[in-house]
């Protein structure tokens, strides 16, 4: 079955073309650089909306492109999008678009290189979401991870060299395990192909031993799980988020961490569904720690970005928690949470970035009453916070509701413990509002100005997305339903 290049290739090629144009653009044309990268992001945004509309809700891999690439290894250039990846493609293009908008004024030196790395990174992310071949999947995965190192050490703040190296080493360490797992599957299936679909067929025809499934699945799970900040491998994530520049944090927390969860579903669960069944309890236990511990630590942070960093750890725990429930509600909630958290956390980081650019500090206790000076930024942050603590009307509510519904069906006791995490979320979000935004105005901040029109556009897009999907969740669920059910039925078989 051979299909030529199509729209999915354009998803990852468009940012690459942007990179090429930028390389040859003299770096003194800063506005030109920003416009080119914004244009590339806009094109991917349009394409991903088109994909979203055109996607057939009956599920399965669509828009496929399938060509033989390296005969000798059996590598195929195989791309396809299913109900799981289409929303994430949309998420990625929204976040990169808003990310470029919100770093419009923030990045002042080496503008060209910054945008080159951003586009490179996002190209890798798109590639991961659409790859159906293990080698391409892995290549894109690394392309998505590595530019972050340079983004952090060059444009970052707060212990940037330490954090950048830590983040990179953690993620690459994880990918070693992913690679071992993939090689094991490749060898088990006779070294004929690296196509994930064919892997699946070959694994079905020649089922691996229980031992194989039980050792390889956790390797892949933990390998990807490191990127999704699974406890106890989460410590890179708050450090990295804090150190990264605004747009990079947005991409990183908003999209890159989802790569981990997506990898678990697309590779580990898809290839070895029995593994998930066997290890589900373990996953529930680890993610419970994520939820509770992340929230507790977030409560005690004094740096705004650390608060959000640990809240991400907690929220990604909810994704894993949903996967571990082994029922439709849990799966759907997890998939939805990936999307909802991506938008929400991008909004958070955009707001914090705007505050930091003006005030040059992120210490909560240093602020006070800045709501009067920056009503729009604080208002946007408020929206993100309310979405985070699960206010109905925002996408986050639907996602968390689904996850906990599934959790109460499967493990009522554990679910009631996990709900504590939500309460804590409310606590730390409100604490930030109270200490930093409201309260006694600190005269030191009288000179602060509110966000620019360009940044407001980014906030509007992000808040709008959260509201649309929160009010009309079927927009998401209809797309993802069929494929999630299929995946689930294989796990439960």
């Amino acid at each position: 079955m051979e299909h030529g290049f199509g729209i999915l290739t354009s998803m990852w090629v468009t940012p690459m073309i942007g990179v090429l144009i930028l390389i040859f653009l003299p770096s003194r044309y800063e506005t030109g650089v920003r416009l080119v990268s914004l244009l590339a992001a806009a094109i991917t945004l349009v394409s991903s909306i088109y994909l979203y509309i055109q996607f057939d809700p009956r599920g399965g891999f669509q828009f496929e492109e399938n060509m033989l690439w390296i005969d000798y290894f059996g590598v195929r250039y195989h791309h396809g999008a299913d109900g799981l990846s289409v929303p994430l493609l949309l998420l990625t293009s929204i976040v990169i678009f808003c990310g470029i908008l919100s770093s419009w004024d923030g990045i002042k030196h080496r503008v060209k290189e910054f945008h080159i790395l951003m586009l490179l990174l996002v190209s890798g992310v798109f590639g991961v979401f659409i790859s159906l071949d293990a080698v391409f999947f892995f290549i894109f995965y690394e392309i998505a991870v590595l530019p972050m190192y340079l983004l952090i050490i060059v444009w970052g703040s707060t212990r940037k060299e330490y954090s950048g190296m830590k983040l990179t080493l953690y993620l690459l360490f994880g990918s070693v395990f992913v690679l071992i797992g993939l090689i094991a599957v490749y060898v088990h299936t006779g070294m004929k192909t690296t196509d994930l679909l064919e892997f699946k067929a070959l694994l079905a025809a020649n089922p691996p031993s229980d031992l194989f499934v039980r050792t390889i699945f956790p390797m892949m799970f933990l390998g990807f799980g490191m990127l999704a900040a699974i406890w106890p491998f989460h410590t890179w994530s708050p450090d990295g988020h804090v150190a990264a520049p605004t747009a990079a944090s947005m991409l990183h927390a908003g999209v890159l961490m989802k790569l981990g969860a997506f990898g678990i579903l697309r590779v580990a669960v898809y290839l070895l569904p029995e593994g998930l069944r066997y290890w589900a309890d373990m996953i529930v236990a680890l993610s419970l720690v994520n939820i509770i511990y992340g929230a507790f630590v977030a409560m005690h942070q004094t740096d705004l970005k650390f608060v959000i960093g640990y809240s991400s750890v907690s929220h990604m725990g909810i994704v894993m928690f949903g996967i571990g429930m082994l029922n439709y509600e849990g799966f759907a909630g997890a998939a939805f949470q990936m999307f909802a958290h991506g938008v929400m956390t991008a909004l958070f980081f955009a707001c914090v970035g705007a505050i930091y650019d003006r005030a040059h500090t992120r210490q909560i206790h240093a602020f006070g009453g800045i709501y009067r000076r920056m009503p729009i930024v604080c208002g946007a942050f408020l929206c993100g916070g309310l979405a985070g603590l699960g206010l109905p009307g925002f996408a986050g509510f639907v996602a968390e509701f689904l996850v906990f519904w599934g959790a109460f069906k499967a493990h009522p006791v554990i679910a009631s413990i996990a709900v504590v995490g939500l309460v804590l979320t409310a606590f730390y979000v409100l604490r930030v509002f109270q200490r930093a935004f409201f309260g006694e105005p600190n005269p030191k901040w009288d000179g602060l100005t509110d966000s620019s029109a360009i940044q407001n556009t980014a906030y509007a897009i992000l808040i709008g997305t959260m509201l649309v999907f929160g009010i009309w969740p079927r927009l998401f669920l209809d797309i993802a339903q069929a494929d999630l059910n299929l995946l689930l039925s294989e796990v439960l078989r």
Partner: protein, 480 residues
């Protein structure tokens, strides 16, 4: 006799430079050398792949074998030689008077290495090794008025001499047991003798000599000191071309063994793991770029030994993976050395500090450095990733699961020090303002070619496909 044309040409080249060194010492002849080297590539290509041997030829009284395998490696060596010539900075690096001598020794060493790929007799092996080694000994001390250079050369001579003696001792054992010095003769007896202590000892000593040339783990002591002390282009020569030749010989010996002894497997297993682990972990602590590359080289030899093990146990695919990786290693390591050579003044040390802010001083060199570090680290989609992937997949299939796990963990460790170099180049401010580096068009073009090779070779993987197929076809005529 067209099949030995490459060796004849290189020998002629060496003689030519010897004469020049007497008649016109001190004349800068880089351009002439490059042109003559390119002619050499052409001759090797034409004689081997156009008119040349498609079936193996045994020459010189059963002592020398010319086949596709050896010719492919000769081409690779020739290319490496021309790359090294491109590094030559005539004015600063060497004692002025020894320009032509440098060319002579380079060509003489190349001649020895070419012989090494075709060796079919243990005595010829010894001759080839010594021809190479003696030239390299002298090359090491040609650096201008640096004490480390002398020290490095002395160290290299002493350890080299000991290892040659050890190898001869091993050869004497093999001769004593089998009554012949012909390698296929020895190997054909190995099925009976494989478990006798004498034979095992002989093989072990023989391989020790080769491991010395490769700087594999227990025989690596010389490498960091010699790299550090000698001039950059000679270090590059040692780090790239000479390893290709030694790998070629190891593959040839291995291909003639009917069946590997268990003890041989174990020994290679230990050497592979020890080399990888030791090299990569010690490289972390280095502050000198050339020392770091030396240790990273020790690590890479560990990966190559994984390939040799796979070749012994898995046959064809193991050879292909090893050949592929060898070729790749030569190019990527060369790229790293080229940046070292361009950035660092020959009279000083190549500290990683000296690469600070390379990003501003020369974006092209910085790009070359970053790409070569990523390739050495095996990060996709660089060419090195495919090499490593192939190596490890083959080993995994051969049942060396733990070897693969250790290998992958090691390549993860190696990323730390490779990334640190990238960080220095991008981020760290220089201690004192350093001037911009102006590259001549020749070397700028070389940079671009190398970057394109390292990035695209993996990505446009039909090239990988063809390369692997070529490597496989080179293997065809090997064996007894």
């Amino acid at each position: 006799m067209i099949d030995v044309a490459p060796e004849a040409y290189v020998l002629g080249l060496a003689v030519f430079w010897l004469i020049v060194s007497v008649v016109r010492p001190g004349r800068d002849c880089t351009w002439l050398a490059i042109v003559l080297g390119l002619v050499g590539i052409w001759i090797t290509w034409e004689s081997s792949f156009r008119f040349g041997v498609m079936s193996p030829q045994i020459r010189f009284y059963q002592a020398y074998r010319v086949d596709l395998f050896s010719q492919g490696f000769k081409l690779l060596l020739m290319i490496g030689y021309v790359l090294i010539l491109n590094l030559h900075k005539s004015d600063r690096s060497l004692v002025k008077r020894s320009q032509a001598e440098y060319q002579f020794l380079l060509a003489a060493a190349l001649f020895g290495m070419m012989m090494l790929t075709s060796v079919y007799d243990l005595l010829v092996l010894y001759l080839a090794m010594e021809t190479t080694s003696y030239s390299l000994y002298v090359l090491c001390v040609l650096r201008r008025r640096v004490t480390e250079s002398t020290e490095a050369g002395l160290k290299y001579v002493l350890i080299g001499a000991v290892s040659s003696a050890v190898m001869l001792f091993g050869i004497s054992y093999l001769y004593g047991l089998t009554g012949t010095t012909s390698i296929p003769g020895v190997m054909s007896r190995s099925a009976d003798l494989v478990n006798t202590p004498g034979f095992v000892l002989g093989m072990f000593l023989l391989f020790s000599g080769l491991f010395f040339k490769l700087a594999a783990f227990p025989f690596h002591f010389w490498a960091p000191d010699v790299y550090e002390g000698t001039s950059n282009q000679v270090a590059a020569y040692l780090g790239t071309v000479s390893k290709v030749a030694a790998t070629a010989f190891i593959l040839r010996v291995v291909s003639m063994m009917p069946k590997a002894a268990e003890v041989m497997n174990v020994a290679l297993y230990v050497v592979a793991i020890a080399s990888m682990t030791y090299g990569n972990f010690v490289a972390i602590r280095q502050t000198d770029m050339k020392r770091m590359l030396a240790y990273s080289g020790i690590g890479h030899i560990g990966y190559l030994m994984v390939g040799v093990l796979a070749a012994i146990n898995m046959g064809e695919s193991g050879y292909t993976a090893t050949i592929y990786y060898t070729g790749m290693y030569m190019i990527m390591n060369f790229a790293a050395f080229m940046v070292v050579h361009a950035c660092v003044d020959e009279s000083g040390r190549a500290l990683i500090r000296n690469f600070n802010d390379l990003y501003r001083r020369s974006p092209l060199l910085c790009a070359t450095l970053v790409v070569s570090m990523f390739t050495l680290g095996g990060i996709p989609p660089m060419a090195g990733f495919f090499g490593k992937l192939y190596l490890f997949m083959t080993a995994f299939k051969g049942g060396f699961v733990w070897l693969v796990v250790v290998g992958l963990l090691n390549s993860f460790v190696s990323l730390y020090y490779y990334l640190r170099v990238c960080k220095a180049a991008f981020m760290d401010p220089p201690a004192a303002p350093m001037p911009e580096i102006r590259l001549e068009p020749r070397r700028a073009a070389l940079c671009i070619i190398l970057i394109a090779y390292m990035v695209l070779f993996g990505f446009f993987s039909n090239a990988v496909d063809n390369y692997a197929a070529l490597a496989r076809s080179l293997l065809g005529p090997i064996g007894v």
